[in-house]
């Protein structure tokens, strides 16, 4: 019976957390009658155990580095070989720097389609049906595949990783095949980290175009700093050059799921919701009581942020 192949990513000798989410999605399909769950990872055998523990039945090892960002052509060769070896008719890939390239490359080479950044998967008569957000988060689309192999990239944090089960194990197979790499990687550098990473923060304070003034981000940083969190921005604010694009939250920016998300002067139209709607508690500060962000919030203050945010900072300081 055909099964599911997940493309895992590894960095610094460990499997990336998002890859465990892919395994959870694969296991959920297996529970609905899908076949075995295989995982491809680039690197040595030490990576296999954590993949087994999080749900893999079999692990395929590609040469180290062959699934690093920028190496989609190399990686596609390994992934296509693993797909055949595992007899997979479903391939799940992370919506990551490598996944964005790898999914489409595999799809075009297998004469099939890819659905990007899916948030839900079901099996319907043994065939995959995927839900994804579109039109800036305003609509959901459900899609199916005509081709034999069904390829999907999954939105980070849309699935919860399974708790590791140390008793699980499986087979390990090496994949030697790689694709011809025509794009030459010269150098890769990490973004300058200022404070806590947006994706890891338990508290995120974001500002939008409604702030009206780039210097207002100093106020956002003061509030997020006080709460031990990170500062984000809407795409509109980043496009205006008010805040670095690396801090953009939204469809074309970062996806965050903090415990507390404070949206200041962000209406919640278009792009932004898709990047933060998974936040566990949303607080809106907005003058418009009818705007989308206020509607989805747990708490909202309908007032000018210039009056509320400085007072909120003082009030929080006074709590202790």
């Amino acid at each position: 019976m055909p099964g599911t192949l997940i493309i895992a990513e590894a960095a610094d000798g460990a499997v990336a957390p998002h890859s465990f989410e892919l395994l959870a999605a694969g296991r959920a399909l297996a529970d609905q009658g899908g076949g075995a769950v295989s995982a491809l990872v680039a690197g040595d055998e030490s990576l296999a155990q954590s993949l087994f523990e999080h749900g893999a039945d079999a692990v395929y090892l590609a040469p180290a580095g062959s699934l690093d960002p920028g190496y989609a052509e190399t990686g596609a060769g390994a992934a296509l070989a693993a797909c055949e070896a595992a007899d997979a008719d479903i391939v799940l890939i992370g919506q990551t720097s490598i996944g964005r390239d790898l999914g489409p490359l595999m799809a075009f080479r297998l004469n099939t389609a890819v659905a990007m950044e899916c948030v839900a998967l079901t099996l319907d008569g043994g065939r995959l049906r995927a839900t994804r957000s579109c039109y800036g988060g305003n609509a959901n689309a459900e899609v199916t595949w005509r081709g034999d192999v069904q390829i999907a990239t999954l939105k980070p944090k849309a699935w919860d990783a399974l708790a590791p089960d140390a008793g699980r194990s499986g087979s390990v197979t090496s994949i030697d095949a790689t694709g011809e790499q025509r794009v030459r990687v010269v150098s890769t550098e990490a973004a300058e980290a200022t404070g806590i990473r947006l994706e890891d923060a338990e508290v995120v304070v974001s500002g939008g175009r409604g702030l009206g003034d780039p210097s207002a981000f100093e106020l956002m940083e003061e509030l997020s700093g006080l709460l031990g969190g990170a500062t984000g921005a809407s795409r509109a604010a980043c496009d205006l050059g008010w805040y670095p694009p690396a801090q953009q939250v939204g469809l074309t920016g970062k996806t965050v799921t903090p415990n507390l998300y404070i949206a200041v002067a962000i209406s919640g139209a278009s792009q932004h919701m898709a990047g933060m709607s998974g936040s566990k508690n949303i607080v809106a500060v907005n003058r418009d009581p009818d705007c989308n962000m206020v509607q989805v919030s747990r708490f909202a203050v309908v007032e000018d942020y210039k009056k509320v945010v400085p007072a909120l900072i003082e009030a929080i300081k006074a709590l202790d």
């Binding site: 579109c134 509607q295 006074a318």
Partner: protein, 267 residues
């Protein structure tokens, strides 16, 4: 140097959620009244990237292609007004509601028909379906490499050096032309069309090519031949449980919010 820029006309992504509507039976978005479609926000950056390369080289021709309904002419006109040289509109009833695989096929045939193309530039994704698949698809169909999400580019002979944006940083890559590059919003502000250029653009040629002109097979276009089937399109239901924080002054509202957040153990 021959550069092709692919552009797309889409519903305005800043349309307020309250005015966004879907025809669930037809699985299509109903155009919002009084809100005109716009050029996909990433595409002017692709045109800007082409113009910068042409400016640096001191020569070259930029052809703009758009696949879409007649309103896609506006996306072409915008690129022509920025300084692109010629336009091609891919228009055919069989191009309506096709998927990105089919779009990539049609675009790649058009690029082959133009001939001797050194570089294809596209926005990193279209803000309607937000897939980012077409640039890789066009490259695969043309049998040439693709570099995605570029923030800057420099051409030296036949080698293009591209700085691209990663989730957690940046990467510099080199690729030999011909190639496809998708351009990110980090590329920088696109130039604004000047009145004189808008008038000049009106005189520039826009050819219209059909599926037959591209010698597409019957099963390569048409909604019924999608590779990714669209089974449903709907507006997700959002249930509002918002608690509006009251108070006689903004200070009191802020104090009440702080107290609520502490009670809920959120701070």
């Amino acid at each position: 140097m021959n550069i092709v820029v692919c552009v797309k006309q889409i519903p305005d992504p800043e349309t307020p959620a309250s005015q966004f509507a879907v025809d669930e039976a037809a699985k299509r978005v109903i155009p919002a009244q009084g809100i005109a479609p716009v050029v996909n926000p990433y595409d002017p950056q692709a045109t800007e990237a082409a113009l910068r390369l042409k400016d640096a080289a001191g020569e070259g021709k930029i052809t703009v292609i758009s696949l879409g309904e007649d309103s896609a002419r506006d996306a072409i006109k915008h690129a022509l007004a920025m300084g692109a040289d010629e336009g091609v509109l891919l228009s055919d009833p069989d191009f309506e509601n096709i998927d990105n695989f089919q779009t990539a096929t049609a675009l790649s045939r058009a690029i082959e028909k133009i001939g001797d193309v050194d570089l294809v530039l596209m926005g990193r994704a279209s803000a309607d379906w937000d897939m980012g698949v077409a640039p890789l698809g066009v490259a695969e169909q043309l049998g040439i490499p693709c570099v995605t999400i570029a923030k800057s580019m420099e051409l030296d002979g036949d080698t293009l050096t591209v700085e691209r944006v990663l989730d957690d940083g940046f990467q510099t890559v080199e690729v030999d032309l011909p190639a496809v590059v998708s351009i990110s919003n980090e590329f920088g502000e696109p130039r604004y069309p000047q009145l004189r250029q808008i008038m000049l653009a009106a005189k520039k040629t826009v050819q219209v090519w059909s599926a037959d002109d591209l010698e597409l097979e019957d099963d390569e276009a048409g909604e019924d031949n999608r590779w990714l089937g669209l089974e449903a399109l709907y507006i997700p239901q959002v249930e509002s449980n918002v608690e509006i924080i009251e108070g006689d002054s903004p200070e009191e509202q802020a104090q009440n919010l702080a107290r609520k957040l502490r009670e809920a153990k959120l701070i």
